[in-house]
């Protein structure tokens, strides 16, 4: 990062009233680097595109998925200007200067391969699938389960659906032949690629990455912003933006853009319930 050249510009932008949304007049290009949780990277790309259009001197680089922990660690180590996280900060991360702000919430969804003739799934069916009692789809096609690592937020959300689901998840981890996806992108790709696959993801990821998978309604409720707003759809992931004392002003301005009306519109368009809109 061209830290020395950028600092003055970012400070100037920060002091400008209503600086957000004002096209940059700097001649030197400012490069912002961000990364972290995979599910938020798609919408972050769209936000970056929009921001770069209005700020020609700024380029936002989004590194491939590092995961929430990896992104925060890279931020605190100075390798990122700000990070995208799917979870709040841990105490030790806060003690190292980390500061998280809730950006939006997006429905956590179950997705299936496009060839699977399934549109809705129930909690009981999920329990049976993850416990191994249900190994085929109603039509007889084999069912392939795509899991996420135990430490991932997705795993924690699925475990939290019901007590039986927690046991079923442990059973799934103990079984042979499970597909283990290390990143959100790997998970979506696996569901897209493997016939009969069932996995998890977020509404915003599927929309922003234009994944050819089918999003299932849960217990008859379709995942939507409205659903998580009124609580009719129970599962959601929260997207956080994490900064550190080293986060440059230019990055803070980009973050301010995300919180602006234009940013919130993009978030909302791609399946996110922006924090300020709740």
């Amino acid at each position: 990062m061209k830290q020395g050249a950028v600092s003055l510009l970012t400070i100037m932008l920060a002091v400008l009233p209503g600086g957000v949304g004002i096209p940059s007049t700097a001649s030197a290009e400012t490069v912002l680097k961000t990364g972290g949780s995979g599910f938020g990277l798609g919408v972050m790309e769209l936000l970056a595109e929009a921001y770069e259009k209005s700020h020609p001197g700024v380029r936002v680089t989004i590194v491939p998925s590092l995961g929430s922990s990896g992104g925060i660690k890279a931020l605190l180590n100075g390798s990122l200007d700000f990070a995208v996280s799917g979870r709040p900060l841990k105490e030790d991360e806060k003690s190292h200067g980390g500061n998280a702000m809730e950006l939006a919430r997006t429905p956590f969804v179950f997705i299936v391969n496009g060839k699977v003739n399934k549109h809705d799934i129930t909690t009981r069916e999920l329990e049976n699938i993850y416990s191994g009692r249900m190994a085929a789809w109603p039509g007889g096609a084999p069912l392939r389960l795509v899991l996420r690592p135990k430490t991932e937020t997705d795993t924690a959300i699925i475990k939290g659906i019901s007590p039986a689901m927690e046991q079923a998840m442990e059973s799934a981890f103990a079984r042979e032949g499970m597909i283990m996806a290390m990143t959100d992108q790997d998970s979506a790709s696996a569901v897209d690629r493997v016939s009969g696959a069932l996995g998890s993801g977020t509404l915003t990821q599927v929309l922003t990455e234009k994944r050819p998978v089918r999003i299932l309604s849960l217990n008859g409720v379709r995942p939507s912003i409205k659903g998580i707003r009124d609580g009719s759809y129970p599962l959601a992931k929260t997207l956080y933006l994490v900064t550190s004392p080293k986060t440059p002003e230019a990055a803070r301005q980009f973050i301010a853009f995300i919180g602006s009306k234009a940013g919130r519109q993009i978030l909302s368009k791609y399946g996110n319930l922006a924090a300020e809109a709740r």
């Binding site: 590092l66 995961g67 922990s69 990896g70 992104g71 890279a74 690592p149 990143t183």
Partner: protein, 441 residues
């Protein structure tokens, strides 16, 4: 004994060598095979994990170090039933980026693979396994090998030696048997030689006796005539004179009979056989014998007359001799039974047609014609067991008078006529002589 010790030494050496090889092969083989398998699977694990993690590294060549959680999750993924492992990811400076630690007992076996991003090494993966289970297994294999080795040693040493010793004992036994047989044969040869010498002596003595007998016959004949003359011309002689003349006559008769026996024994002529009715043979023989009144005579012959093919003069002499012996065996009287009957018999060819075997036929005996059995049974004192084998020897006698040639002559005559003679006796219960002759007609 030296050979035996040598066999023991060689067998022990071979058994020991095989046992040592087996004992060492078990743990050595187990260790080598297991070690090879372990290193192979460790290399495979390292290769697979390096490739998987290299993919992650390639996705973020500059930032992969920050994906610690994911990397540790990846490192923690193990094949089910796999060995205990500690896995570490190290950067180029050797600093640990991520690890999945399992406590391992040293010594450790370690395998390392480079992590590459776009062909450039950015770090390495290190997988360690404990050699302790392998060494423990090798120890167990060594114990098993020791047990098998001992079993092999005992089997290879004890069983062959036992067989050798048994063979040796069998050989000793056969040697002893052979020595006994040789001794027996030697004894039989010595006896045969003694008998031959005895016969030669007897033959010589017989020739002398026969010569002397011939020479004595004439003076005895003169003496007999003289006695007869004296008895004829002195009818009025005193009783004492008559008694002494009678004694002289009887002793002359005895002397002549002894001389006749001697001549008969050594000058047996070839039998002139003819078919002779058995009852006639017995009757004529009895007619020429003097049987005291205190002896009850009983003859048993078959209703249907049958005959034998013999020399009637020789067989008559035999029967008279047997009847005379029986009478002499019963000085206080008794019962004399003479019985003749036909019997089925066999002839033993191996004995040169000389011995008859009248026992039930067996496969090695050639069936032959009927025989006639004539038995002479008395109720005298019987014969002592120790004398039974000597009865037919020449010059053996238990009588105060006689020279012991009667039965010897009888046997020679019977055998010359194709028969044989047997005797059964029980002290206090009498004696039975049985003559078996070939049937005639």
């Amino acid at each position: 004994m030296n050979d035996r010790n040598r066999v023991i030494r060689i067998t022990t050496a071979i058994a020991g060598a095989v046992a040592v090889v087996v004992t060492l092969l078990m743990p050595l083989g187990y260790f080598l095979i297991s070690y090879r398998h372990m290193t192979g699977s460790l290399e495979t694990e390292a290769e697979i994990n390096s490739r998987i993690i290299s993919e992650l590294v390639n996705a973020n060549p500059d930032m992969w170090r920050y994906e610690q959680v994911r990397l540790e999750e990846l490192l923690a993924r193990r094949p089910s039933g796999g060995a205990q492992e500690t896995r570490r990811l190290l950067d180029l400076d050797g600093k640990t980026v991520a690890e999945s630690v399992t406590p391992l007992t040293p010594p450790l076996l370690r395998e390392t693979r480079d992590l590459k991003a776009a062909g450039v090494t950015v770090g390495r993966i290190e997988i360690s396994r404990s050699l302790f289970p392998l060494l423990a297994g090798t120890g167990a294999a060594a114990l098993l090998g020791l047990g098998i080795g001992l079993t092999v040693f005992v089997t290879l040493r004890v069983l062959p030696l036992r067989a050798v010793f048994r063979a040796e004992e069998e050989l000793c036994r056969l040697n002893e048997e052979l020595e006994l047989k040789v001794e027996e044969r030697t004894r039989q040869l010595a006896e045969a030689q003694d008998e031959l010498v005895q016969r030669e002596k007897l033959a010589l003595l017989g020739m002398i006796a026969a010569g002397m007998g011939n020479e004595l016959r004439n003076p005895l004949g003169v003496m007999s005539n003289a006695v007869y003359f004296l008895q004829s011309v002195q009818p009025d002689a005193t009783e004492t004179v008559k008694e002494y003349l009678e004694i002289i006559r009887e002793e002359i008769d005895n002397s002549q009979r002894i001389i006749s026996d001697l001549l008969d024994y050594y000058r047996i002529t070839t039998p002139r056989t003819a078919v002779v009715p058995v009852d006639a043979l017995i009757g004529e023989s009895l007619a020429r014998c003097s049987i005291p009144e205190n002896i009850r005579l009983r003859t048993e012959t078959a209703e249907m007359p049958f005959a034998v093919r013999v020399d009637s003069i020789q067989m008559g002499q035999v029967l008279r001799n047997l009847v005379t012996n029986a009478v002499q065996a019963m000085p206080d009287g008794g019962s004399l039974r003479i019985r003749a009957r036909k019997v089925q018999g066999t002839r033993n060819e191996e004995r040169g047609n000389k011995d008859l075997n009248l026992e039930p036929r067996t496969s090695n005996l050639e069936p032959c014609a009927d025989f006639v059995e004539i038995s002479v049974k008395d109720t005298g004192e019987g014969i002592a067991p120790e004398n039974m084998t000597k009865l037919f020897q020449p010059l053996f006698t238990t009588k105060s008078r006689g020279i012991g040639l009667g039965l010897a002559i009888s046997r020679k005559l019977i055998e010359a006529n194709g028969g044989r003679i047997e005797v059964k006796s029980c002290l206090g219960d009498g004696t039975t002589f049985t003559v078996t002759l070939p049937v005639g007609g």
